[in-house]
Amino acid sequence: MIAVVDYNAGNIRSVLCALERLGAKAELTCERDKILSADRVIFPGVGQAESAMAELEKRGLVETLRQVKRPFLGICLGMQLMNAFSEEGDVNLLSLFDNRVSLFPSDLGFKIPHVGWNSISFNTSPLFEGIESGSYVYYVHSYYVPLSSSTIASTDYDNLTFTASMAKDNFFGCQFHPEKSGEVGERILKNFLSLEVEK
């Protein structure tokens, strides 16, 4: 069973639909036991970091998410929340990764939010098996995670390069929306569903 973390974030239905198209059995849940015993955990989200963290606290999910041992995938805001701190509401996050989430600088002349299809560059990762580096994925976001040692794929937005995807142990994150990224996105989700990690 795949647990899709329910914390009242937006656009969860697209993730559930995408999993269903892949024939995967998923359940939207905020129950600790279900999340910790799930074979996979998907942590989606469209929304705002500060209110999302407040909702996770309220549902007692902060510690639960940190304890997940099975493959875990944060999508968009979900990936951002896996880091240490966000400028969006100046809030402390889950600290699964030690990065600071920043607002795209307004003085670089590009449009914010970063909306649309952009290409990802990567070397190799089981998450991207069967996909060519340079493939396009769909983004909608105003905040970004800078490049770090946990970056496994990056995207250029004009002259700024940011983390498209990150990984450490069983924790994976995608800033883009695989559930909205056509065939490429479906392959990434499929790869996530079949990857094995040791911890």
Binding site: N11, V46, V115, G116, W117, S142, E186
Partner: protein, 258 residues
Amino acid sequence: MLAKRIIPCLDIKDGRTVKGINFLSLRDAGDAVENAARYCEAGADELVFLDITATVENRDTLSSLVRRIADRINIPFTVGGGIKSVEDAYRILDAGADKISINSRAVREPELIKSLSYHFGSQCVVCAIDVRKNPAFDSEEGEGWEVYLDGGRTPTGIDGIKWAKRVEELGAGEILLTSMNHDGTKSGFALDLTKRVSTSLSIPVIASGGAGKIEHFEEVFTSGYADAGLAASIFHYHEVDIMKLKRYLASKGIPVRI
């Protein structure tokens, strides 16, 4: 590199795709979900659905259609038509739409843009603006454009460029800009208008109205500085093939998703 987006638009009535000329003699153009899936396979980057009847009685029909679309397609889509409140928007987004589009209601109640972006984030809020040339709004920067409502029937006396700026300040995440002078002419997009709006705002602009051939998209992305190009009939009647269009744009050095 962020790609320029190609967006087919589908007009919806009672769950079916319809086509008509100036809202007259609507003609059934097939099942909306099937049409959406076809566009998706043909290489569309995003889809826009406009419910042109948009009556209260149709609310449930529309959300069940949105549900069926979300089940089927794996690219983002926007739904517009008749959204008058946060509750209306919630119903559409909860059914699986990625964005909602508002038009007339935003002019009558600008605070709605603010509440929608507060509740769902600006990335969910597309503000559609229909404009027609009006010399009364001419300025040093160029020709004047007046905002029209209700599918182009109601003039407002509002300057289109100023309204676009205001819409951004209120929290819209994208602007869907239609020149009524160009719409349906197939003679190309309103390049000056698109350029002025796109370069004076920091949110993306979807250009609409006037696409007739592949070169028109090249122009709107280069001279018009548009972030996306939207069209309906030319895609619907296969006058322009989306992949052919994208390959052409790529050959001109315009970044597109192929």
